[in-house]
């Protein structure tokens, strides 16, 4: 609890965060190999729906979460930025796999590979693996849910109720 918080705001935060963390709608954003594992996570064996996170949206305007799964090339980087800006706030980004973390196996000679998606969009969680197992992605999503649950959520129209610290 921050210095400027009161009981109303913290309760509001809890309610909003509870709702947000349990209804993360990801954007279908398959770039490369990791996208197959992302699809496998959404399929029968791992079932991302159990975390309220399986509703893959085709449009950024309905999505909260961008799972950047795969190699980001320089040609694609500006599109990623554009899609990220089209997503409504609050929004989160998971960087899935070595390639989007830091360029992965393509960091040495990859003249056309962006070395880390965090050069284009701010990243919340870095998921290791090449490609990561579905469990690793689920773990990252649970980590993100934990992160959302402790943040100050009510900043929008109700933000005026929060006392200035």
């Amino acid at each position: 609890m921050g210095p400027g918080d009161n009981v109303v705001m913290t309760t509001m935060d809890d309610v909003l965060n509870w709702g947000r963390s349990n209804s993360l709608w990801p954007l279908t954003f398959g770039l490369a190999c990791c996208a197959i594992e992302m699809m496998a996570t959404g399929a029968a064996d791992y079932d991302l729906e159990r975390f309220g996170c399986g509703v893959f949206r085709a449009t950024p305007r309905q999505a909260d979460l961008m799972i950047v799964a795969g190699t980001v090339t320089l040609k694609m980087a500006s599109r990623i930025r554009m899609l990220y800006e089209q997503m409504p706030d609050p929004k989160w980004v998971i960087s899935m796999g070595s390639c989007s973390n830091k360029g992965g196996p393509y960091w040495q000679e990859g003249y056309h590979v962006l070395k880390g998606v965090d050069r284009v969009v701010p990243v919340d969680i870095y998921v290791p693996g090449c490609p990561p197992r579905p469990e690793t992605l689920i773990e990252a999503i649970m980590m993100l849910q934990k992160k959302i649950r402790v943040q100050e959520a009510a900043l929008g129209p109700l933000g005026f109720m929060r006392k200035k610290a």
Partner: protein, 171 residues
């Protein structure tokens, strides 16, 4: 029909166009004069039953120095693939006639060869880069290509020469 049959037929038909055989192992190839490649492929398609063109690729030989375009026409009739090589000077002015009007497969392969090696294809219907962005500079698969430091404000290498990590991008 074997590789030698094809070679002898081609060298009889095009005594000036066929420069010789390249005895590399395990697969040999036929050297063709740059100006004759269109005729040779047309002859192979129409007379020798080479219905399809599997691949067009470029090779950079900095030691010769030469740029090389390799054609792999294939035949379902004879169940074989032949490799034809065209050597060009290693400059930005390397030019060869496009074979897109013979095989549509050549369209994208030639665009890729242009993109990667800077070999110009004359009479090509859509002579643009294909894999790299349109405003890309340089031809990446040449052996002396140097990776740029920045592209559109985004740093390209992970670390710069002195080992320091490159600065973040747009945000």
């Amino acid at each position: 029909m074997t590789f030698d049959d094809i070679f002898s037929k081609l060298s009889v038909k095009f005594p000036k166009g066929v420069l010789g055989k390249e005895e590399t192992k395990p697969d040999a190839s036929i050297k063709i004069e740059p100006s004759a490649i269109h005729e040779v492929l047309k002859y192979m398609r129409d007379e020798l039953n080479f219905e399809t063109l599997h691949m067009v690729s470029g090779v950079d030989y900095p030691a010769l120095p030469a740029l090389c375009v390799v054609y792999h026409p294939g035949s379902y009739h004879h169940k074989m693939i032949v490799s034809l090589k065209v050597y060009l000077p290693r400059t930005d002015e390397a030019k060869v006639t496009s074979v897109t009007d013979l095989y549509k497969a050549a369209n994208w392969h030639e665009r890729e060869t242009y993109d990667m090696f800077g070999i110009q294809f004359l009479n090509h219907p859509d002579h643009r880069r294909i894999l790299c962005p349109e405003d890309w500079k340089g031809f990446p698969l040449r052996k002396d290509y140097v990776t740029p430091d920045y592209y559109n404000g985004m740093p390209v290498p992970l670390y710069f020469e002195d080992g320091a990590p490159t600065e973040g991008g747009a945000h």
